[in-house]
Amino acid sequence: MLDFFARNRVATLFGVTVLAFILIGMAAPGYLSLSTASVIMSNSLVLMTVALGTMLVILTRNIDVSSGSVLGLSAVILGLLLNNDVGLVPAIIVCLISGALAGLFNGILVTFFSVPSIIATLGTLGLFRGIMLILTGGKWIEELPQSLKFLAENGSIGISVLTVAVIIALAGVWAITRHTRFGRYFYAVGDNREAARHLGIRVNLVQISAFVAAGVLAALAGIIFAAQIGFIPNQAGNGVELKAIAANVLGGVSLLGGSGSVPGVFVGVIFMTSIDSALVFLKIPAFWNDFIAGAVLLLVLLLDGRVRIAVEKAIRAKRYAVHTPNKTTVIPAKPATAPTAQETTQ
């Protein structure tokens, strides 16, 4: 049982999410409805897209904290183009390309200048935000054309064009990471860089494409942001990078690289977003949001950490049990706990 939950992180989180939904549904009747689901879905689109890109980077054992600024920068580029009478499709293409370039810049810094990714992206977090503010001159971009806002409108079946785009992105990343050779390289590079190199994988290329993909997805999130809100404030995307990392961790993506999956990120993002909407239904004042989000995140981390430690202990006990001369159930525990005891009494 313990084994199952430790191995199936996604299943655990899914269970917790469903349980949370049921509990909230009992406390606040009317919460469990299709309209809530639709609201949560459309609220989660921005975070979902950013988190998806962040996952690709984390898989290769890097981290990207610049995605919030990439989101803002590409949204501003989109807004400026649209307000200068450029067509919607070319504007979106330029916007995505600008995201790709931003990601490429991150990737080059990390790969060819061997700057630790957290430092490089921390720097570009400030850099891209600054470029964005220079472009806008510190003013908000308003009066975006109706054609852009239409993308966010829910159609007859309650699904907007953007939702479809995000679902396609999710499916695409899932298919690539699960079923293509190049996709598996992301895991290989993150799990063991040197081994991947010796296997003939072009480690640098994989790493850079992870950053470029993250940039493109952040730009897509920028489009979603602009379409949903209808204007682009200076602080667009501020802090979304931290939420994306948190959602990844919740969804079982290891920050040490090499493990994580798209369904996990999906559930993680839905979980994070549903906390916000649940607070509204439970009539809890909005200023509790951060506190509860932080507490939930820490609680999940603590539980996950403890479960993993317990499982490691159990696996080790099984492994050492072979060496004990008379196979009783009591004795194997002793050599098994010896190494861990040493660790815990550091």
Partner: protein
């Protein structure tokens, strides 16, 4: 001589001199001594949190929650003051809260054995949430500040100690204390060993957990100090007091030579880097550059400086390898 001049701190010093020269040429009033001294009040808090953060990074951890701890401690100070506690007790409560926050981080990290970045990311939300909730207790309604401090407290930020502004003095005194602790004590050596190799440190019988816990607690306490200095400077305690210190402080630690992988860094480097970052912002502002460009430039500074540092290391090892290879060829032939 070589060992003094080739240190990273000298490069930072050169950057600082270059900044003074450039900004002085653009706007001569920048080099006015009282301006140079008093503009430190605008960025002293960055250094106050960046210095203990350096020690955390050297010990192989990282803490991003200090940005919220600053606000949390300020709010707790404000609440204690609101309920009429004497000033000294208020300050002690705020610093105690900082220590508890640090202790909380350290225990969470050790209990869950998950990367410190993630855990402190969680507590970044938790602490700022706690501060927001607490400020509601005294009816400050969510995001407003708590004011009405005694004059003896608010005047502290504008006090002069030996003709230096008080926040800067706090920073200097802190730097001296941490310099001695890190570079001239047994504990300091242990911190470096922890960061270099946790296994080596463990097999040397060092109490790794205690050492790392102390580094987090120090960060919490000094985040409290920064919160108090800022509350005195602005005359009110707000939840978001420390939010703006998050990136500059990490930048200062890293620009100052701390390796994000642990085991490397120095207090003087971080102090110099704080001055470089602070005066860059001040100088740009005085040269009439809009604040949005200065934020882009400080981001670019971090990227360029670190890229140069790592790039030059890569280049050096590449050149060294080539020289070795040619030598070997020569020896063979």
């Amino acid at each position: 001589m070589k060992r003094i001049f080739l240190r990273w701190e000298m490069a930072l010093f050169a950057m600082l001199v270059a900044e003074f020269a450039i900004f002085g040429a653009i706007n001569p009033r920048f080099l006015n001594l009282s301006n140079l001294l008093y503009s430190t009040s605008d960025f002293a808090q960055i250094g106050i949190v960046a210095l203990p953060l350096t020690i955390v990074i050297i010990a192989g951890g990282i803490d991003v929650s200090f940005a919220s701890t600053v606000g949390l401690c300020a709010i707790i100070f404000g609440i204690a003051n609101f309920f009429g506690l004497p000033l000294s007790l208020c300050i002690a409560t705020a610093l105690g809260a900082g220590a508890v926050a640090g202790l909380f981080n350290a225990s969470m990290i050790h209990l869950s054995r998950i990367q410190p970045l993630v855990v402190t990311l969680g507590s970044l939300y938790l602490f700022s949430g706690a501060a927001t909730v607490l400020s509601g207790v005294v009816g400050a309604g969510g995001y407003e500040g708590i004011g009405n401090f005694p004059d003896s407290f608010t005047s502290f930020a504008y006090l002069e100690v030996a003709s230096l502004p008080a926040p800067f003095v706090v920073l200097l005194v802190e730097a001296v204390i941490l310099f001695v602790i890190l570079h001239f004590s047994r504990f300091g050596r242990a911190v470096f060993l922890c960061g270099l190799s946790e296994h080596a440190a463990r097999y040397s019988g060092l109490p790794i957990r205690t050492i790392q816990t102390i580094t987090y607690v120090m960060t919490g306490v000094f985040a409290g100090v920064a919160g108090l200095v800022l509350s005195a400077y602005f005359g009110s305690a707000r939840v978001d007091l420390g939010t703006a210190t998050l990136l500059p402080a990490i930048t200062a630690a890293v620009l100052g030579g701390a390796s994000i992988y642990g085991g490397q860094g120095s207090i003087i480097g971080t102090l110099m880097a704080t001055l470089v970052i602070g005066y860059l912002q001040q100088g740009l502002q005085m040269s009439g550059v809009p604040s949005q460009i200065s934020s882009a430039l400080s981001g670019a500074l971090l990227v360029v400086a670190v890229a140069l540092r790592h790039g030059s290391a890569v280049l050096t090892s590449f050149v060294a390898a080539r020289i070795m290879a040619t030598n070997r060829k020569r020896a063979a032939s």
